[in-house]
């Protein structure tokens, strides 16, 4: 070692890089001794660290063995053998749980994975956007302006979606997703899934987006357009079919992906399972009294809607996806559901109350096809999506009027009072294609159609004396085109133009801009 130092110093002096007076041999020797001392200290430090590493590694190995005797501990860390580790090297991934002070702790590493997705829009409409005929808010079919994902003109901060995911223990995973908007916080999804059930079974429980169809369980982030298809919004609700309940699904052990599922749900989604339950209809007015003073009058009467505890909605689905090689993927699905209750009410200031009380069922099919040859950042990828849903609402309609402060009586003539059976048959579909025309860029077209079947049967007599089918409403159409720029998989900027051709309403153009960004852990997207 000494010879090395002498050599090094000699070279340094010879090259003239050290500007100093001619040193004496004594000084040189002193310097060499000092350097040797430093070297010894470093050597000791390295040995000490190596010992610590070995000790810590032993602890790690021991705990690993205790934890899982079937699993062999990871290969011992470099301590003397294998690749040389210097004290200042970054800590290998396997050892990061160990703190600098040496104790073996997981610290805060048990925190769930967190991600935040921010979504904002700017929108301009050429005219008021009406509800398609047969799907008016007044009839309780979905309806706009409930705060959901509906877009209004001007700047909108639609939501900040905060998601926590993680494994509860070896048996359960959990996900909690809160949607924070400017005015409120809503639990969008919060559920557990099993991770240890045998035979390809999995149970999900909590509040979740139903697996019926394809787009229903997708969040804003996964839509290829600024807004959701009418099918999801008008047939199920602003939030899709999002219910509290439980799901059992089975992945068959076949070569091709085949999954069956059943869901037992509380039943609250406005489109197919709206529920009010019994209660009192109340109306308060102020009338002039004897000397014209204001007198408060309160009318109150039973609504006479059925009370029924959940679960009220039962759905089932099957998904099948043949293996088409690495470039192509396709999934076909069929689904259906029965709701034991579908209720709605509309109170009028005239003292009239309209109620609908019955049940509903729906059935549908979905298809998604994806093509991708592995082009850079989505270049050349193509996604085709199509879904169709048909629903029937079988309800008893009543129109009642307050006859006194505590009594609601049917309106209409006594021989044909306003209590009828109604049967609504309606459907909706969308078809969309999105193509990645350049790295980071994609463009898509979508057609929405609702009410291709749009019939209301009514066994009462109408004003013209007709009985039977009352309405055969037209279909409404919407055509949308979008262009998206996605700088990375974490950010998305999108522009969209839609043309609304609405039966029983205005035609209107919509122009929308959107940004959607995600922060935090790298989310993995299910197919």
């Amino acid at each position: 070692m000494r010879s090395v130092w002498i050599l090094a110093l000699t070279v340094a002096f010879a090259s003239g890089s050290v500007v100093a007076e001619e040193p004496t041999l004594e000084e040189l020797m002193r310097k060499i001794e000092a350097l040797e001392e430093r070297d010894r200290e470093r050597q000791e430090r390295i040995e000490r660290l190596e010992t610590e590493l070995r000790a810590a590694d032993a602890v790690e190995r021991q705990t690993a063995e205790e934890r899982r005797d079937t699993d062999r501990p990871a290969r011992p860390a470099a301590a003397g053998t294998g690749p040389q580790a210097d004290p200042l090297d970054p800590v290998p991934a396997r050892m990061r749980a160990r703190s600098v002070t040496g104790e073996v702790t997981s610290g805060t590493a048990f925190n769930p994975a967190i991600s935040v997705i921010l979504d904002g829009t700017y929108a301009h409409f050429s005219d008021h956007i009406d509800d398609p005929a047969g799907f008016e808010s007044g009839h309780g079919h979905g309806g706009h302006g409930h705060g959901g994902h509906g877009i209004s003109e001007g700047f909108n901060l639609r939501e900040a979606e905060i998601t926590f995911t993680g494994s509860v223990d070896p048996y359960f995973d959990m996900m909690v997703m809160a949607s924070v908007s400017e005015s409120d916080i809503e639990l969008e999804e919060a559920f557990i899934t099993t991770r240890s059930l045998p035979a390809g079974l999995q149970v999900k429980a909590g509040k979740f987006l139903s697996d019926v169809g394809y787009i229903n369980k997708h969040h804003i982030h996964d839509w290829y357009f600024v807004d959701q298809p009418w099918m999801r919004e008008l047939m199920f609700g602003d939030e899709g079919l999002n219910e509290v309940g439980a799901q059992l699904s089975w992945l068959a052990p076949f070569d091709t992906y085949t999954r069956f599922g059943l869901e037992v749900l509380e039943g609250t989604s406005p489109g197919v399972a709206s529920y009010i339950g019994d209660g009192r209809h109340e109306m308060v007015t102020v009338l002039p009294g004897d000397s014209n003073q204001p007198v408060r009058n309160r009318w109150r009467a039973d609504k006479n809607l059925r009370d029924r505890d959940g679960p009220r909605l039962f759905t089932g689905f099957v998904k099948w996806a043949p293996d088409l090689g690495f470039d192509h993927a396709m999934q076909l699905g069929a689904f259906g559901g029965i709701s034991q209750v579908w209720q709605n009410e509309e109170g009028h200031s005239s003292g009239r109350l309209e109620t609908w009380d019955g049940d509903s069922q729906f059935i549908g099919a979905d298809l998604v096809y994806k093509f991708g040859r592995g082009g850079l950042l989505g270049d050349g990828n193509f996604v085709l999506q199509a879904e169709y849903v048909y629903r029937e609402l079988d309800v008893e309609y009543q129109s009642r009027q307050f006859t006194d402060f505590s009594n609601l009586a049917l309106t209409g003539p006594s021989d044909d009072p306003d209590r009828r059976d109604q049967l609504w048959k309606q459907d909706a579909f969308y078809l969309q294609g999105v193509y990645g025309f350049a790295p980071r860029w994609n463009a898509g077209l979508r057609v929405d159609g609702v009410g291709l079947t749009n019939r209301a049967f009514d066994d009462g007599t109408d004003a013209l004396g007709r009985r039977g089918m009352r309405d055969d409403l037209d279909a409404s159409w919407r055509y949308s085109g979008q262009v998206t720029f996605a700088p990375t998989e974490f950010s998305r900027l999108r522009g969209q133009i839609s043309y609304n051709d609405i039966a029983g309403g205005h035609e209107a153009w919509q122009f929308m801009l959107q940004y959607n960004m995600s922060l935090g852990v790298h989310g993995a997207h299910a197919f």
Binding site: T70, D71, R72, A74, R75, A77, A78, G82, P83, A85, P90, V91, P92, A93, R94, R96, S167, P170, D173, T193, R195, S196, L197, P198, G200, L201, Q202, S249, W250, L251, A252, P253, F254, D255, T256, Y257, T258, K319, A321, D323, L324, F326, A329, Q331, K370, G372, G374, L376, L377, P439, R440, T488, E489, F490, H522, A524, H525, A526, F527
Partner: protein
Amino acid sequence: MKRLFLTLMLSLAAMAAHAEVRVVATVPNMGMLVETVGGDAVRVTVLAPPDRDAHYLEARPSMMAALRRADLVVAVGAELEVGWLSAALQGAHNPSVQPGRQGYFEGAAHTDLIQVGGAADRAMGDVHPAGNPHYYFDALKMAEVAEALAVRLGELAPEHAERFEANAAEFAEQAREHVERWQARAEGAPGAVFYHKDADYLAALLSVEILGYIEPLPGIPPTARHLSELVGSLRGKEGVILYADFQPSRGPEFVSRELGWQQHQLPNQVDIGADSQAYFELINRWVEALSP
């Protein structure tokens, strides 16, 4: 219904009939390793084709169907497959291959990674704070992984355990021989520009200097400004440009033209079903390209 039931029973019977270990490998290089160690005692399905960037795949139903029936999943790990493997595993309804179970094997946990640490800040691009996951470019690290894999396979099929370990030892021996030869071959290599940080392990193994990257930041496609800066900083130096078959060639070709350097577009992964010989040949092509 009867037919469905019969199909079901037959497929269940078929599952019980063969004793081989069903392994799902995420990428072809890991599939090669499983084949090499497992021989005919394993049956391997590979989820990703060789000509794809494993960062950017999507979970597909066919992956879930394969994982549903797997005894063991062999991943590269270190978050290379973060965008799709966890979703595919969750959709697979197969508890025995979930992370933390015996049926989940991540090679990155059995070798020391480089570039560990660093800020987990995506302003720096698609960073991997857990370490660079492309260790399959280092045959010695692959040998370490092979030895750990042999142990794991031995737990799943104890009757073949010795064979697995012998196969892994043979692979390790071959890897050492190749690496020795490669290191001699690359002696005095001028240094290289890569597209992405994928071949960094090879550069470290051969002590070849990395002169720059075509990407301005990991996962961010090259910009004109970055390329001109890169060219400016390298003008007058010697080197080669290497990139993978799924990486676009425009940037590398520009730099190659400007600097008069050779550029080589090479596969990143072996073909599906390839053996260890094909793997060593693949790395050999990179070594030859690095050592003009």
